[in-house]
Amino acid sequence: MPTLTLVQAVNDALKTAMRRDPTVIHFGEDVGPKGGVFLASDGLTKEFGKARNFDTPLSEDGIIGTAIGMAMNGLKPVAEIQFQDFIFPAFDQIVSEAAKLRYRSGGQYTAPMVIRTPYGGGIRGGLYHSQSGEAYFCHTPGLKVVVPSTPEDAKGLLLASIEDPDPVLFLEPKALYRQVKGEVPEGFYTTPLSTLRTVRTGKDVTVFCYGAMVPVCSKAAEQAAEKGIDCLIVDLRTLLPLDEEGVLEAARQTGRVVIVHEAPRFCGFGAEISAMIAENIIEYMEAPVARVTGFDTPFPNTLEHHYMPDARRVLDAIEHVAKF
């Protein structure tokens, strides 16, 4: 099996999908000759031609709006939004249109499509090249929201998203694009959506995380282990529809929970996990349900390493709930 970085795995997934299915097309800003600002679409135009991988004018509304129309009419569009921060001009198309099309037409029209976009901090991108907007989308019935954290999952989940009959927002942790490497099976395979990945088993504290926070939590768990605290780490992978049973099961196993994400805390995704626990299994909890998150501020630039949860902050929370 070849060893790929996460962004190479994305590229491999796109090529794999486009080879096996002529209806798959990929487009967005600068994804053509330039190959995308992170090179995720490197080589696609060369192999599949300009009709199946191409640059668009600078309009996210146009990118997603046209993708919906393509999806309605038999294509399998994969649209890139250059940075997740720039998805908001297309918010209406995603939230009002893609997410509600099947519902409002009684299934006569559907929008099976994938929106790929790099999200999150770690590249000194400041306010507008670092955001983690998953909660905006997870509050939107009709969408699916997927976040890989390993090269193998990036490929398997992206292929599963492309196969999926519903619109999928595929959030790629840009901090991990070149930071993580791993073996990736060749050819076509899928990693089923709405399934959790156990990163590490443990009996004392359950840590829920996804995307770029997974390696951070792993590091914190190693440090915790040195202090005698044994962490179960769960990579959520699909945030919507979430495997809620699996989450509750993992929380119950330890009775102590830490939830970690980069996005601001207030009304962030972590709140839902916490609420789910408080609603269903509060009697199993032996400690407060802690959240380690970005602050409730815009994303800063110079001090991003203070803004983003790091192993230090995660460990602190792990110790807090372990000792409670």
Binding site: G69, L75, Y103, G106, P241, L242
Partner: protein, 372 residues
């Protein structure tokens, strides 16, 4: 190729001055009957709304020729991306009034199962009449995407994207027309300029000399046509379709017409439309004009017209009877069609809703076990 004076084929007196009509007598009568059907639908719905039997409807008086003329230029394999005022296009292509009436009542046989407001239709047969969405302009780039798919597959189909004068200010107008022109996508953009966007008159909507001229911003042809002239509408839209099918890319058509009623049954246009304006347009009624044209071909007499109108009213009234007798959607309809398959959390929520409804004996929830 922007035309400063709206293209006209049928003069106000019904004459066509040597114009080569490309429709058979039957086809002309079908156009006429469709306009009457729209009018009957309007009248009946207005009464239903006023008496509280339905919640809402959208009057079309004055714009019937616009819709029907444009629709007549399309093939059944083409796709319509309509605005909420365009159901005449669906009727023209053979959608049954009762299909629409199910939506007006939001009952279980509505294609959207009562999830949408009235007049938000969706059909795939006998023509693709894409699910109407309330947010203005969002369907415009969607039409372009669907057209891109047609082009990629080498099909000779077109998409018609229809919207109002207000719609030209929307985001979708800008992105849709821009993408379409760059891609040379087979789309016809139809701007039905009916004078107002709810209460906003054209001069507060845009400072441009016309809506058609906006085509220049995207590098595509723009044409102005008399929207109350069914044959002119047909001609202009057909030419645009022909160009699109031949690979010539998109066209923006501005149809000048007037909304004789309120924006919707919730609106009181007397607050903002000058009376004289309504009176001046009343003289240009598109149905009467088409009747004069038909009369000039011996296809119409007042008696024939009255009979046909009655027939249309009967058809609509029958549709009302059927739709009103159809039960409301069952509780399950809230939870289905969110995704292709029901995810567990929706199953749980649906089950809880059903259990509660069952416990408190709520008939509307539908009987039996939660079916999903």
């Amino acid at each position: 190729m922007t035309i400063a004076e709206p293209l006209q084929v049928i003069a106000q007196d019904g004459s066509t001055a040597g114009f080569q009509v490309d429709l058979s007598n039957d086809a002309l009568l079908h156009c006429y009957r469709t306009m009457l059907l729209v009018r009957a639908f309007d009248d009946v719905c207005l009464k239903l709304q006023r008496s509280g039997r339905i919640g809402f409807s959208i009057p079309n008086k004055g714009v019937e020729a616009c819709q029907v003329g444009a629709a007549s230029a399309l093939e059944k394999t083409d796709w319509i991306f309509p605005s909420y005022r365009d159901f005449g296009m669906a009727l023209y292509h053979g959608v049954k009034p009762v299909e629409m009436m199910h939506n007006m009542f939001g009952n279980d046989r509505d294609s959207a199962r009562g999830r949408q407001m009235p007049v938000h239709f969706s059909f795939v047969q006998p023509i693709h009449f894409v699910s109407i969405s309330s947010p203005i302009g969002t369907h415009i780039p969607q039409a372009v995407g669907a057209a891109y798919a047609m082009k990629l597959r080498g099909e000779k189909q077109v998409c018609l994207a229809s919207f109002g004068d207000g719609g030209t200010s929307s985001l979708g107008f800008h992105s849709g027309l821009n993408f379409a022109a760059v891609w040379k996508a087979p789309v016809v953009f139809l701007c039905q300029n009916n004078g107002y966007a709810i209460s906003c008159p054209s001069e507060e909507q845009t400072a441009s000399e016309s809506y058609a001229v906006k085509a220049k911003a995207y590098g595509m042809p723009g044409v102005i046509v008399d929207g109350n002239d069914l044959l002119a509408m047909r001609k202009v839209v057909k030419e645009a379709c022909d160009r699109a099918r031949a690979g010539g890319g998109p066209t923006l058509v501005e149809a000048k017409t007037f909304r004789m009623g309120g924006h919707s049954t919730s609106d009181d246009p007397t607050r903002y439309v000058p009376k004289e304006l309504v009176e001046s347009w009343a003289k240009k009624d598109p149905v009467a004009r088409f009747e004069r044209f038909l009369a000039s071909r011996k296809l119409w007499t007042p008696e024939k017209g009255a009979l046909l109108a009655e027939d249309c009213t009967r058809e609509i009234t029958a549709a009302v009877g059927e739709a009103e007798a159809t039960p409301a959607p069952v509780l399950e309809s809230i939870f289905s069609d969110v995704y292709a398959t029901l995810p567990p959390h929706l199953r749980r929520q649906g089950q809880a809703a059903f259990d509660l409804a069952a416990r408190v004996g709520d008939a509307a929830a539908g009987g039996g076990k939660f079916p999903l």
